[in-house]
């Protein structure tokens, strides 16, 4: 088992014919992801990467039975694309595109919440269930199959964490990059719920960063509801206040959202908190060993 995506997931790609879309879709296909088609308005009826292209998500779903969508459309079309996929009953949407305006995302997120759709991103590396399905832009080989769930706001830090988990002789059940924007789809709590249910996941590594309250809310949730071991790392302990650190959401605003308050809340909830990413591998092995005793 795994969460959100596996070998049975039928994926369409919105924005497949663009430069980024083309490159990463071909990488996903090479990885073994079941990409069943693409959507580019105006290019319906053509073929791209040996897959059919449709004008609308509705046509794509009708023709292929797709239940997942991977979004690469330009940032000004992101909310439109998310809402279209949601409207057509897509179960899981992964949005890679960076730079979606906040005002657009307020609408898109509000609509997604009112439906049965699960949204990941925007501004994220995507989801990977090693050996089964890659809906994202991550280097597949870094993620070896195993029993650690990985949730992260950052792309390259996800690779770093996975690399350490693998070096420690462990592996990944599913890794999910949730993205670094102020408004994102599923957050830590929703994914922890998924990992709690997943029999294939023995422990979780979560990587947060400065800005917002998702990590603190997750800490409250973990304390009373989550019983698998967790290692957490929060990036940005040295970030200055009021400065945006690369990700649109990575900003300490009004003195709130510091790494310290997040690390304290997680520690208080019984999570093993790493001070540097270098400790992630070591800490997760320790917890797994304890579990096996």
């Amino acid at each position: 088992m795994s969460i959100l995506a596996d070998r049975n997931t039928k994926v369409i790609v919105q924005g497949m014919t663009g430069k980024e879309g083309t490159f990463h879709t071909s990488q996903c296909i090479e990885y073994g992801t079941n990409i069943v088609g693409g959507v580019t308005p105006g290019k319906g009826g053509t073929k791209h990467l040996d897959r059919p292209v449709f004008n609308t998500v509705r046509e794509a779903v009708d023709a292929t039975g797709a239940d997942a969508s991977l979004i690469f459309v330009p940032s000004s079309f992101v909310s439109d694309a998310i809402m279209e996929a949601t409207e057509e009953g897509i179960k899981i949407i992964v949005t890679i595109t960076e730079g979606a305006p906040i005002r657009d995302m307020i609408y898109a997120k509000s609509y997604v919440k009112s439906m049965q759709t699960k949204l990941i991103g925007p501004n994220c590396p995507g989801i990977i269930t090693p050996g089964e399905c890659k809906m994202g832009i991550m280097p597949g080989y870094v993620f070896k199959r195993g029993h650690i769930g990985l949730i992260s706001k950052s792309g390259t830090l996800t690779y770093e964490a996975s690399n350490q988990i693998v070096m420690a002789g462990l592996g990944i059940s599913t890794a999910v990059g949730i993205g670094g924007d102020p408004i994102i789809g599923m957050g830590f709590i929703e994914l922890l719920k998924e990992f709690q249910q997943d029999r294939d996941t023995d422990a979780v590594v979560m990587i947060g960063e400065i800005g917002g309250t998702l990590e603190v809310e997750a800490a409250h949730y973990i304390k009373n509801n989550f019983n698998k071991p967790i290692v957490a790392f929060i990036a940005g302990q040295t970030a200055p206040k009021g400065k945006r650190m690369g990700h649109a959401g990575a900003i300490i605003a009004g003195g709130k959202g510091t790494a310290k308050e997040k690390m304290d809340a997680l520690t208080e909830a019984g999570v093993s908190v790493a001070k540097t990413p270098s400790e992630i591998g070591e800490k997760i092995s320790e917890l797994i060993k304890k579990q096996n005793v």
Binding site: E209, T238, A239
Partner: protein, 394 residues
Amino acid sequence: MYIHEHQAKEIFKKYGVPTPRGFIAFKPENAVKAAQQIGEGLWVVKAQIHAGGRGKAGGVKVADSTEQVEQIARDLLGKPLVTHQTGPKGKIVNRIYIEEGVDIEKEYYLGLLLDRKEEKTVMIASTEGGMDIEEVASKYPEKIVKVIIDPIIGFQGFHARTIAFALGMPRSDVNRFVSFARALYNVYNDYDVELAEVNPLVKTKEGKFIALDAKMSFDNNALYRQPEILAIRDLTEEDPAEIEAGTYNLNYVTLMGNVGCMVNGAGLAMATMDTIKYVGGEPANFLDVGGGANAENVAKGFEIILKDKNVKAIFVNIFGGIVRCDRVANGILEAARITNISIPVIVRLEGTNSKEGSKILSGSGLTNIITASDLLDGAKKSVKAAGTLKGDSK
């Protein structure tokens, strides 16, 4: 992106958000002209910089004669103003705003921003106008009222009425407050504003609501559809290194330390700074060269980092994914040659073709390039290299 108070007030005027009459001046002579144009009475002279805390720092002064306006203008213009938000160097005041004085009866705070937890817009108000809202939140949380505005319905009268009655406004003020709040919301919504703050929002002795101060910042991701805002960007208020980095799509933030950092990915870049600090050093910057680090943006990254004379060593930390490390290594060598780097460069390459990449670097013959095996090792070597050079400044 930030704009000046006077620019925010120009936009307010267009939308029917009342503001005091005022004029901008870049020279003391123009300040006097502005005062004359406004007419007799009291004037307020306000330094225009992109930082809060101007009042307490002496950047906002009242004058009762045009001579005094001129004197204040001379005292402010061309000189740095140090507030709790500017850092110790302060910000040079290049422009001042001259406004008519207002008879204040009551001061409020009114703000609009994204509530990240609710993922909707929140309107925040308080009776403690003029005070920092964070300070009010920590000292008198009971004096703050918040209403969430659902995107399905947008701003409605009841949102503002809820605030007005909760703040204890007299009934006769409520409708005027609702109009003010609605106009402010329209600005916020139409211009993709990230934060709109009116602090203080004053009720005058004549019973009018006026935005005495105005602060707005905008969603950078939406600037492409806000040409009017882009056109009034004041680059002199921003860090030149950060502006330059931005033109090459690099994310750069200046910090105080001596270890320069160049990393692919924002999260890893922050984690790299954290690790440098953890092993006893101080990072000089945050720099995310993007998921796909190539020779051109690596070279540009070096150039920008090297402009900071405090930097005594550079730590390049790349986790190659789709980007192959051997290509990154060649990029680093090319960049090192172009920019002629003389300080130590510590390189950690991980991921796709990392061994080949390291081989290229160690075989390059460049003695100031030091390879590192992992993040911790790289951080330690960088801090050591930066420290040694500090005491050895020949």
